[in-house]
């Protein structure tokens, strides 16, 4: 039976079919739906959202050492967080199969950078698999488990946004059970103290060498001979674009590109007149192919910034053939259209926080989540973003550097649990005094409303302990800890004012549920009384999509308004109720 599955759904299916016992991860676009879809197999596969990717990786590693097949999922930047366990599990090696699924985001649709995570496979000296569609996503997860167990190594399965979020047909298979044999004590194998780590280090290189003949012979890599004037080496979604735009060319499709299949690459290169490497982002293949002494085209034609597309490949083809490609530009009127960037939702409680911060001359160090949108006009109330947790630690850094303005650090609840706790501990320990606002909307919202350690539910739907942000803050040594609803707007502003005047560190927990996730706070839409409104447009400065200004009047779109009343509290004339 064939089903139309996204790449992420297909990987989840592969997890089921491969007999995986443990599946863990942290949400992050474009990887999130993998674990969300594993949940349907929870009778067979234990699954959880871990607090962050490092913890998740270690949980999967522990499971794998008992012989259980395990996976860990993350977006590309999550692998940076999990790099520490990755770089040593590569020494310790696998018992049960372990596949780390890493979803890159070329083009930065929903990310702060576009790193090429394939580099991690070479860095960690472990196999890399790269599917080109959903069927392969499922197949490669299963193949990755076999490779992991055969060579006792963790494996990286790398997808990109267009693989994770494109749907294509997948033939479903049955689950094959793999029963773990339990942990077997073997310190020289599992304990990398220097005396044992040195032989492990040697085994890493031996393993890599042992893999090379297998990679060249693997069915995951294949040559599709056609016209031999041009041969193209491609992997991932770029393979699909190549088939579309260069239908006559011979193609070496690499589904298992690392360790590099040197023999296969040499054989292919020898069979074609001209060689082109088409890969998204870095010259991961091209650099190596050139190091083999093989002449090829690649990044001299193929951009290393942003994602590829069939149109990008048509431009590349035209350039290679010395032709001009007539450009299909947006229609002239499109340039006059209003931009429609993502914004905080109507009735989002974060809006009140940023609107209030707009009243103070402070520096705001922000973080990763829906609230990143607080940087956009008209709120304009975020000054930096770096990575998960940095909203807190960078506020501390600015403070100790002697920044004269008050510094406010912002993180969300899930981000606090992910990487904010240690940062807050640093503030308590080293006695600095920023104001930290933790936007606690009780859910990991941006990635599509996943549960987290504060929400009281596990991924498998079981009720659990709700971690207390207040207790964490106090345990870190913060004495001024307040929990408030920012939609009680005047009181919130007053609290900010007091906190800015105090020389002590302050944690403000802004607790108000995500209205898109928890509808219980929804109220009837508000209305603007046209007789009272003086069109001062103050309400438009909060950037609420439900507030429209048309034909000279402020109106509230009753399909969008959730009745949070922030605009009403801001209106100086009480025209909104």
């Amino acid at each position: 039976m064939k089903e139309l599955l996204s790449g992420n759904e297909a990987i989840a299916r592969g997890v089921y079919e491969a007999g995986v016992r443990v599946a863990v991860g942290y949400p992050g676009t474009p990887s999130t739906e993998i674990l969300e879809n594993v949940e349907q197999y929870k009778e067979h596969v234990y699954c959880e959202w871990s607090p962050n990717e490092k913890v998740a990786f270690e949980v999967a590693a522990g499971a794998c050492l008992t012989g259980a097949r395990s996976i860990v999922t993350m977006k590309h930047v999550g692998l940076n967080v999990a790099a520490d366990p990755l770089m040593t599990l590569t020494y310790v090696g696998a018992v049960g199969g372990i596949v780390a699924i890493v979803a890159d985001d070329p083009g930065m649709h929903s990310s702060q950078n576009e790193q090429d995570s394939r580099q991690y496979a070479r860095f960690a000296k472990i196999p890399l698999l790269e599917p080109s569609d959903s069927e392969e996503a499922r197949d490669f997860l299963v193949a990755g488990m076999d490779i992991s167990e055969k060579f006792k190594t963790p494996v990286i399965l790398r997808t990109t946004t267009r693989i994770s979020h494109s749907r294509s047909l997948v033939e479903l298979h049955e689950r094959v059970e793999h029963t773990p044999q339990g942990f077997k004590k073997d310190p020289p194998r599992f304990v990398p103290i220097p005396a044992w780590a040195r032989p492990m280090r040697v085994r890493v290189e031996e393993r890599l060498r042992a893999m090379i003949p297998e990679v060249s012979a693997s069915a995951l890599n294949r040559i599709e001979w056609a016209n031999k004037d041009l041969g193209i080496i491609a992997c991932g979604v770029a393979y699909q674009y190549v088939k579309e735009v260069f239908p006559e060319a011979s193609v070496l499709k690499l589904g298992w590109p690392y360790p590099y299949p040197d023999d296969l690459i040499r054989q292919f290169a020898a069979g074609v007149k001209r060689l082109l490497v088409v890969e998204e982002l870095d010259d991961f293949l091209e650099e190596h192919i050139k190091a083999l002494g093989i002449a090829c085209d690649g990044k001299n034609f193929v951009p290393n910034i942003g994602e590829l597309s069939p149109m990008a490949l048509r431009r590349i083809r035209a350039k290679m053939e010395g032709k001009e490609l007539p450009q299909v530009l947006p229609v002239e009127e499109a340039s006059k259209l209003p931009p429609r960037p993502p914004v905080l939702c109507p009735s989002c409680p974060h809006r009140a926080v940023f609107s209030a911060l707009g009243k103070f001359d402070v520096v705001v160090t922000g973080d990763i989540g829906c609230y990143s949108l607080g940087v956009a006009a008209p709120l304009n109330r975020m000054d930096t973003i770096l990575c998960m947790g940095a909203g807190i630690s960078m506020a501390h850094g600015m403070k100790i550097a002697g920044e004269k303005k008050r510094v406010v650090g912002i993180v969300g609840d899930s981000t606090f649990f992910h990487s904010g706790i240690t940062a807050l501990l640093d503030i308590g320990y080293n006695k600095s005094a920023p104001v930290i606002i933790i936007l606690d909307n009780r859910v990991t919202a941006m990635t599509g409303h996943q549960d987290n350690p504060g929400s009281g539910l596990t991924l498998m739907g079981e009720p659990t302990h709700e971690a207390s942000i207040e207790e964490f803050a106090r345990a870190c040594g913060i004495k001024r800890v307040f929990t408030v609803d920012p939609l009680k707007y005047d009181a919130f502003i007053e609290l900010l004012k007091n906190s800015f005047e105090t020389p002590e560190p302050t944690v403000i927990i802004s607790r108000s549920p995500c209205i898109v996730h928890d509808h219980s706070g929804l109220k009837p839409a508000l209305k603007v009384d046209p007789d009272v409104c003086r069109t001062c447009k103050l309400c438009l400065k909060i950037g609420c999509p439900a507030l429209e200004f048309t034909e000279g009047h402020v109106r509230i779109n009753n399909l969008l308004c959730g009745g949070c009343s922030l605009c009403g509290q801001i209106c100086p004339f009480d025209a909104i109720s």
Binding site: K2, L4, T29, P30, T32, E33, H109, S110, D133, R162, H165, S166, R167, S168, L169, V237, Q240, Y241, K243, E244, P247, S309, P310, M311, R314, V328, L329, P330, V331, E333, A334, K336, L337, P338, P339, R340, P341, P342, V343, L344, C345, C370, S372, L373, A377, P378, M446, T447, G448, K537, L540, K541, G543, C544, P545, L547, E548, F549, T550, N557
Partner: protein, 194 residues
């Protein structure tokens, strides 16, 4: 781009575009075609422009399409039709919902929503089906079925048998919403055929 049919859906986050793309791909699959789709998830869904692509044919490689290649462009919001107009193939059908969602950039005064949009649409799209899908959805039973009304109109520009469309709807929507969605689909189809 070979013998594949491409459909480009565009609108604003929350308008039900993903359900519509699922129904199109199911209809194509039921008709025996290879299918690929691509959707936008994550940050872009927060009130921003959302697009979905469906491609079907004997063998589909790329989930993305080239500009100037969509057989049907279906815009759930009228300004978004203009933003995506260059994706429509010459002679392709544009289905445009007569529905306006004012972006925050307009309300906050940094941009202007275009006036005389109907004229612009006529200029951009020689084959234009422009109507109020929300109104037709309300007549069918619920304004929430506006996406399926637009789907009905879109189906007129594609060459899949009507029965596979109905089966795809049965397969995709919840049973309790089936009747209203079938009515909505028929209303959209009638609007595009008139």
């Amino acid at each position: 781009m070979n013998d594949c049919v491409s459909v480009f859906l565009t609108g604003v986050g929350g308008q039900g575009i993903l359900l519509a793309s699922e129904i199109i791909s199911n209809a194509a699959m039921l008709s025996g075609f290879d299918v690929k789709t691509n959707e936008v998830h994550g940050m872009a869904q927060r009130g921003g422009t959302v697009t979905a692509l469906v491609r079907y044919g004997p063998k589909v490689y790329s989930p993305l399409i080239c500009e100037g290649n969509a057989r049907v462009l279906c815009a759930f919001e009228m300004a978004e039709a203009i933003r995506a107009a260059h994706y429509l193939a010459p002679g392709g059908l544009a289905v445009v919902n007569q529905y306006r969602i004012i972006p925050v950039t307009v309300s906050s005064g940094s941009a202007v929503y275009p006036e005389n949009i109907k004229e612009t649409l006529r200029k951009c799209f020689p084959r234009l089906c422009y109507f109020d899908a929300t109104q037709k959805a309300i007549e069918a039973g619920t304004e929430k079925a506006a996406n399926v009304v637009l789907l009905g109109a879109t189906s007129v520009g594609l060459d899949l048998p009507e029965e596979t469309w109905l089966e795809a709807i049965r397969k995709t929507v919840k049973p309790k919403f089936l009747e209203v969605n079938l009515k909505a689909f028929a209303a959209g189809r009638a609007a595009a055929q008139s």
